[in-house]
């Protein structure tokens, strides 16, 4: 694996079964600090399960999970708390607390840490403005569109400036314009805040824009790991099947970016 010397996420030999079905089977994965790693793979291959294992929402049946130097797979609550302090999670369905306004949702992590109200207000306003939603703070999740909810979910995930952000299909189901906006947020989290990102995505265009590296999940492990350029040229069957859905993959290529 060509991961840098200091991966912030390191999964080794991770296995997960549900009943008789093996979902993950010896998954190895290392994500270098300050990069965006995109996990692609057919539906139902265990991408969400992988993110849940990284965040300790699911315990692996075997293998080790290390987040920023903390081993979390053993189920120690202290280790989990410590790892989660530095972790943001953008849920597929946003998972905003439905009886709280957008503003209160973004404020929640700050409030629970006892940050003074004045400071909370300023931070939340800034975060909402960052995702282009400065004026919807008082609306409730049910009054927002799916794309708006995702952006509020993003604002909440990064409000404590985590060093690692996990994104579960951040652009699935969004229109092309909103997809671009969310992609820019994912890129901005890395470039402006120095956060590492692990992005689960179905969307080739979006993946090529945000990724430093792309890992293809197949058969319970990362079958192949590629840069966006290599991805476009790959002959791997799963990669080809993703590219086959793309009308003109060359046009969606991102501007060249030097890998760290």
């Amino acid at each position: 694996m060509s991961a840098g010397a200091d991966p912030i996420v390191r999964l080794a030999g991770v296995a997960k079964r549900f009943g008789a079905r093996t979902i993950l089977d010896g998954l190895d994965l290392a994500v270098p600090r300050g990069t965006n790693y995109v996990i692609m793979g057919p539906s139902g291959t265990g991408k969400s399960v992988t993110l849940k294992i990284m965040s300790g929402l699911l315990a692996p049946d075997a293998g080790s999970v290390e987040i920023d130097g903390v081993r979390i797979e053993g189920g120690s609550r202290r280790a989990l708390r410590q790892a989660r302090e530095r972790l943001g999670f953008v849920f597929q369905g946003a998972a905003l607390i439905n009886w709280m306004s957008a503003r209160d949702n973004v404020a929640l992590p700050l409030r629970e840490r006892g940050v003074p109200e004045g400071e909370i207000r300023a931070t939340v306003d800034r975060r909402l403005a960052e995702v282009g939603l400065a004026d919807i703070g008082d609306k409730f999740p049910s009054e927002l569109s799916g794309g708006m909810r995702k952006r509020v979910g993003f604002a909440r995930a990064v409000v404590l400036e985590p060093s690692l952000v996990l994104y579960d299909e951040p652009t699935t189901g969004l229109d092309p314009v909103t997809t671009r906006i969310v992609d820019e947020l994912v890129i901005g989290a890395r470039d402006r805040h120095g956060a590492t990102g692990v992005v689960v995505s179905h969307d080739v265009g979006s993946a090529l824009r945000v990724a430093d590296r792309i890992g293809v999940l197949d058969g319970g492990r990362i079958a192949i790991e590629l840069t966006p350029d290599e991805f476009l040229r790959s002959t791997h069957p799963v990669v080809r099947s993703f590219l086959a859905d793309q009308p003109a993959p060359r046009e969606t290529r991102p501007p060249e970016r030097s890998a760290p």
């Binding site: 849940k52 965040s55 929402l57 708390r81 989660r84 302090e85 972790l87 999670f89 849920f91 597929q92 369905g93 998972a95 905003l96 607390i97 439905n98 009886w99 929640l108 992590p109 629970e112 006892g114």
Partner: protein
């Protein structure tokens, strides 16, 4: 999710496991209530929940309570008249309301209104990953969601039981006046006297104690069952529906069973 019917043994095991988890959740929630990390914030959440719960149940509890007292008066009055013992009517209505019907009616209504709403609310939060989101923010769902709901239900159950007792006795008084020629003030005075009789611990009568203890236990139990069912929901909207049903069914059944046990303790063990 498999459509296979679970064997009866599995269902029993599941039921016991659910009961155990619910009990643990209840203990954990009450421990957080006793030693809140942020007392002011915890109090705010509690008051908010109490307000919501009372608003949801006040009207229906009053109506049902009044009719309960009226039915009791009519039924018992007819029976007593045969022996010329209508004079006993106030104390029978008052004691029945205070000991059994008040807490029972309150618990059943709370299970169907507030308990169902809590199971649906927490179930929705579970299946839409909101509970996961809280955990990832290092926010423990127990003090954040469960404790205020359970404690509020305990308090609400006691307050509403007192209300049901009062409207029940008043309802009984109206029926007694209309059918059995007992004046309303006479009925109320006789009820009050009946409810102040064998004192326990010097403050309240045994009738009231047993009823209020029941109310408190029922309230906490309904809250625990609702929260536990909601938090364990899985499988989308259908799963939320299942959580609501299981919470209401378990609450109603356990209200009767636990009610029997408490009655037995007060009137047989402590006789």
């Amino acid at each position: 999710m498999s459509a296979r019917r679970p064997s009866p043994l599995t269902s029993v095991a599941d039921g016991l496991e659910h009961a155990g988890r619910t009990f643990l959740l209840l203990v954990l929630a009450l421990a957080h209530a006793a030693l809140p990390r942020r007392p002011l914030r915890a109090l705010g959440r509690l008051v908010e929940q109490l307000h919501v719960q009372l608003v949801k149940s006040l009207l229906v509890v009053s109506v049902v309570g009044a009719f309960m007292g009226m039915i009791l008066a009519l039924q018992s009055g007819e029976a007593l008249r045969r022996y010329g013992a209508e004079g006993q009517l106030p104390s029978i209505v008052a004691a029945s309301m205070a000991r059994e019907m008040g807490p029972f009616v309150t618990a059943i209504i709370l299970a169907a209104t507030v308990g169902a709403a809590i199971a649906a609310e927490l179930g929705t939060m579970r299946v839409s990953e909101e509970i996961d989101a809280l955990e990832l923010m290092n926010i423990d769902p127990v003090p954040f969601l469960v404790t205020p709901r359970i404690v509020a239900l305990g308090i609400a159950a006691v307050l509403l039981t007192v209300l049901v007792d009062v409207v029940g006795v008043v309802g009984g008084a109206l029926v007694a006046h209309a059918h059995f020629g007992i004046s309303v003030p006479e009925f109320l005075t006789a009820s009050r006297d009946a409810l102040s009789e064998p004192r326990m611990l010097g403050v309240l009568s045994k009738d009231l104690y047993s009823g209020l203890v029941k109310a408190l236990v029922f309230g906490l139990m309904v809250g625990g069952l609702a929260c536990s069912a909601g938090l364990r929901a899985e499988g989308g909207a259908l799963g939320v529906g299942r959580a609501v049903r299981s919470s209401v069914v378990a609450s109603v059944v356990l209200t009767l069973v636990v009610g029997y046990v408490i009655t037995w303790v007060f009137w047989v063990v402590l006789a």
